[in-house]
């Protein structure tokens, strides 16, 4: 069974009496272990689709299933808890908590999950080691480069052992070298540990590495192909 199923999803924004159709008639299935890129021009609905898949926003019409749960059937703290245990997020601008060290940022998710302190520290060190930052556990975000911060964000997303990780333009703010390094890490995690990655991107380097590419235009899926 697909881990994500999107059925006839529309997303319409009513901004001061102007109707903006962000997504229209989206049907989609994503399997465990995919490395999928959602591409398209600005305003095509990539981020909106990721937000819907992550349960951060609700569709105007249609429904989304994650695992065996329909997201539209959950609200409030139940939905937040579901995200905590099932979905990892990597944002374009890293979004680490500035007052926490790299290790504590990774630990935070596990702390919210109720993982004991000793185990948290161990897993955080392990995750940071996986993204090549074993020596930066005690560094605050401000002391890390953009690429390093984004790798901490990936480690944070991994720490919750999610069903999949949603990455919104993960390389947009990174230089070529950092972007390449991040992509290698994500690919490695996908291949060796079967972590499912779904990311939105403009970056051709990312698109060329994706094994499935979904092209969005004007809120509709224009093409969906494996490569």
């Amino acid at each position: 069974m697909a881990i994500i199923e999107v059925v006839n999803v529309d997303k319409i924004y009513n901004d001061s009496d102007v109707k903006v159709v962000a997504l229209s008639g989206i049907n989609l299935m994503i399997e465990q272990g995919e490395f999928t890129a959602i591409v398209g021009p600005s305003g095509s609905g990539k981020t909106t689709l990721l937000n819907l898949l992550g349960g951060l926003d609700t569709p105007t019409n249609g429904k989304i299933r994650v695992g065996d749960v329909w997201l539209n059937e959950m609200k409030g703290s139940k939905l937040i808890d579901f995200r905590l245990r099932n979905i990892g997020f990597v944002f374009q601008s890293y979004n680490l908590i500035p007052v926490l060290t790299a290790g504590e940022n990774v630990e935070l998710i596990m702390q919210l999950q109720g993982v004991p302190a000793m185990q948290r520290k161990q897993v955080a060190a392990e995750m940071l080691s996986k993204v090549g930052l074993a020596d930066r556990v005690s560094s605050r975000p401000a002391k890390l480069s953009g690429g390093q911060q984004q790798r901490v964000a990936v480690a944070r997303a991994l720490a919750s052992r999610p069903k999949f990780i949603l990455a919104d333009e993960p390389t947009a703010n990174l230089d070529g070298k950092s972007a390449e390094s991040l992509l290698q890490i994500m690919e490695h995690l996908n291949r060796t540990e079967g972590v499912t990655f779904i990311f939105s991107t403009h970056d051709q380097r990312v698109v060329s590495r994706a094994r499935r590419v979904i092209l969005l235009e004007d809120g509709k899926i224009k093409s969906d192909f494996a490569q």
Partner: protein, 471 residues
């Protein structure tokens, strides 16, 4: 990583803002407790001066005496009744008095005075007027004597002129008025010698009087002089007498100090032709709390049930003082309210800035799985830490100040002192000891912080994650 630690680190994120918020809480607490302490201290002083040294906490008197305090409304002294009242556990001291008004004159100066017939020994236990016996007086006579022998420098003369008419109960108090001046020991000794007063307090069998210091100054009399007094005696008799002045006392209450004449009870009864009659039993209590005062009043009422007498508390007898204290208390509270309103908006402004600055971060935290209530709790924790630090600092600085000025009250001088005395109060500003009022200031700040926290709580509960994480 505990939430407390996270809250603490968040506070250090914007050190200046945190410092400003903590400072505003600190100054609010400091100002509030110091101001309140001065107010409550003044009330205690007023009550102590007026009540414990004259009125008594409770009086037992004729039912009509409160409205018409004349000799016609006095009653027959009953020793058994006095003993009965003395046996009530909360009763500290009881004394019987006869009180009347008279005209006192010396030379061609006359003044209306309050004549208080007292039992000297029991009065000593009650209000201890002997403690206020004047030992030194800066009179014109004393100044003339000093000038005659060229014993004064210009500086010392100026100080004496500034305090002319003042009385002192001991040498230390007199010496203190010269503490800012360069006065030699010899000169001080001469001043002490020239201003010394050799009075004493009353004894049961005395046929003289002790008068208050301002009255002595007004009538221009001293120890050994005689006072002529005219009054109306019991049942319309004319009362007149000449009484030698045996002592002068300085009553802390300026109103009483300007018109009090003490005489032994027997002499007062004789003077007013009211043998064995007294105006009231004045009673001081150990525990003066409202509850204990009520309980003691009730106990006395039970004991006097067979007599045609009634019990009056100092609040019944001193409506003016009670109202003065109450109105001042209310204006103090209103000032505190305004102060807290200002501080509240300061805190509220900080909260609004903090929330708007961190909305994106809140969005990320909720997106990755932090429960909104838990997030709100972290923010509340941050605010509470700031509040506790501000309150603790306020107490840390304020409490020693309170303690110091409780022991060393500020003595007002000049116009301010004159104004206070005109109003019948001693020109002193003592502070009240540590009490519930101190705790309440901290509680008020905490309540305000909690109220200010409603804003971030509401914002956090209502924000949309998608909107918050948009840059």
């Amino acid at each position: 990583m505990s939430y407390l630690k996270m809250a603490q680190r968040n506070l250090w994120r914007n050190k200046r803002r945190t410092a400003i918020t903590i400072s505003s809480i600190f100054f609010a607490i400091l100002l509030a407790i110091v101001m309140r302490s001065f107010q409550l201290g003044s009330y205690s002083l007023m009550i102590r001066n007026a009540i414990e040294q004259y009125y008594g906490h409770i009086r037992v008197q004729h039912p009509d005496y409160a409205d018409d305090p004349s000799l016609e409304n006095t009653f027959e002294y009953d020793e058994r009744l006095l003993e009965n009242i003395s046996m009530i556990p909360n009763v500290k001291t009881v004394t019987s008095r006869l009180e009347t008004f008279a005209l006192a004159s010396s030379g061609n100066i006359t003044k209306g005075v309050l004549v208080l017939g007292i039992e000297p020994e029991s009065e000593k236990r009650f209000s201890n007027p002997e403690h206020f016996l004047v030992r030194y007086r800066l009179t014109q006579d004393a100044l003339d004597r000093l000038e005659k022998i060229n014993a004064l420098t210009a500086q010392t003369r100026e100080v004496i002129l500034a305090y002319l008419g003042e009385s002192f109960t001991n040498s230390a108090k007199l010496v203190r008025i010269f503490e800012d001046e360069q006065v030699s020991a010899d000169e001080l000794y001469r001043v002490l010698d020239a201003t010394k007063v050799k009075g004493r307090f009353l004894r049961e069998a005395d046929s003289g009087v002790v008068i208050s210091s301002r009255l002595a100054t007004y009538l221009n009399v001293s120890i050994g002089d005689s006072l002529i007094m005219l009054s109306q005696g019991y049942q319309g008799a004319s009362a007149a007498g000449v009484f030698p002045i045996l002592g002068i006392i300085r009553i802390p209450n300026p109103d009483l100090d300007s018109r009090m004449v003490y005489m032994p009870l027997a002499l007062a009864q004789n003077f007013t032709y009211s043998p064995n009659r007294i105006a009231y039993f004045a009673i001081n209590l150990y525990n003066t709390s409202d509850e204990m005062q009520k309980a003691t009043t009730y106990s006395i009422q039970v004991r006097i049930a067979d007599n045609e007498l009634e019990v009056k508390t100092w609040q019944n007898l001193n409506r003016v003082l009670v109202q003065q204290i109450e109105s001042d208390n209310q204006s103090g509270k209103a000032f505190l309210f305004l102060l807290y309103i200002v501080v509240f908006f300061g805190i509220y402004g900080t909260v609004i800035m903090m929330v708007h600055e961190r909305m994106h971060e809140f969005g990320v935290l909720v997106a990755v799985g932090m429960n909104k209530l838990r997030l709100a709790l972290t923010v509340v924790l941050e605010m509470l830490i700031m509040a506790f630090i501000g309150i603790a600092l306020g107490y840390l600085v304020g409490l020693p100040v309170i303690h110091y000025y409780q022991i060393h009250p500020i003595r007002l001088t000049g116009e301010m002192a004159k104004m206070m005395m005109d109003m019948g109060f001693e020109p002193l500003m003592p502070m009240a000891p540590f009490g519930a009022y101190v705790v309440w200031q901290g509680v008020s700040i905490l309540v305000m912080v909690m109220l200010a926290c409603l804003y971030p709580i509401r914002k956090i509960i209502r924000f949309k994650v998608v909107d918050a994480i948009k840059r």
